[in-house]
């Protein structure tokens, strides 16, 4: 039973560029959430996708956008990269039913470094 998989594992970009990160949820899960974890900090909620729509968004600018595909996989896009976007980006999947008490399963993340 495959868990949450993310690609790529590491990525180096320069300021102003655009990046796309990818996530495949755990088998049987239909909901994907994205978190940003800066060095030495706890994860911060970016947004969540269910039924191919953004359901809730955290305090992140419009440069951060996403997409969910019919097979429940998801992409996180970040435009006009800033040095402060350097972080570990974590994808978490869960079942929509009974959302709040369903534990989220996390992938190993994508480490994004901005030069």
């Amino acid at each position: 039973d495959a868990g949450v998989t993310q690609s790529p594992t590491h990525l180096i970009k320069t300021r102003g560029q655009q990046v796309t990160l990818r996530c495949s949820p755990k088998s049987g899960h239909d909901t994907v959430s994205w978190y940003q974890q800066a060095l030495g900090q706890g994860p911060q909620f970016i947004f969540q996708y269910y039924e191919e729509e953004e359901r809730q968004r955290g305090n992140f600018p419009d440069r951060f956008s996403g997409h969910q595909f019919p097979n429940y996989s998801s992409e996180l896009n970040v435009n006009a990269l800033l040095l402060g976007d350097s972080a570990l980006y974590l994808c978490a999947s869960s079942l929509r039913t009974g959302m709040a008490n369903q534990p989220q399963h996390f992938g190993d993340g994508t480490r994004l470094s901005i030069l």
């Binding site: 706890g42 994860p43 911060q44 909620f45 959302m99 709040a100 534990p103 996390f106 992938g107």
Partner: protein
């Protein structure tokens, strides 16, 4: 709105000693509570969760936590730690009425187990 405070940024302890990692939360609504562990270069793994019922919750790897509603705390304990428990530990909350299960994380506590 919810917030989580982990009272210790680092906890050094000798192998086979007991340990307690402290977590306090603030919320205007009832919450679900979670503890996650993050090993180096990995994502987050669920240790245990409190949803309802008994306030003492047992999780994986010999960890347990106690929910104290009056003190708004959810401290994590282990009676005897191993070198392999060295990792970052995160306390998180989710609003009971949340329709997304958005997690609010604390800043994390680094558990350093010494031989």
């Amino acid at each position: 709105a919810q917030s989580v405070t982990q009272l210790d940024s680092q906890v050094p302890v000798f192998e086979e000693a007991p340990v307690e990692l402290r977590c306090n939360y603030s919320s205007s609504v009832s919450v679900y509570l979670f503890w996650y562990v993050q090993y180096p270069n990995q994502g987050l793994q669920l240790l245990l969760k409190y949803l309802s019922g008994s306030t003492l919750v047992k999780g994986i790897n010999g960890f347990e936590a106690e929910f104290n509603k009056s003190q708004t705390s959810f401290h994590l304990r282990k009676p005897s730690v191993h070198i392999s428990d060295t990792a970052e530990y995160f306390c998180a909350v989710s609003g009971l009425s949340s329709n997304t299960g958005k997690l609010i994380f604390g800043q994390g506590t680094t558990l350093q187990v010494k031989p």
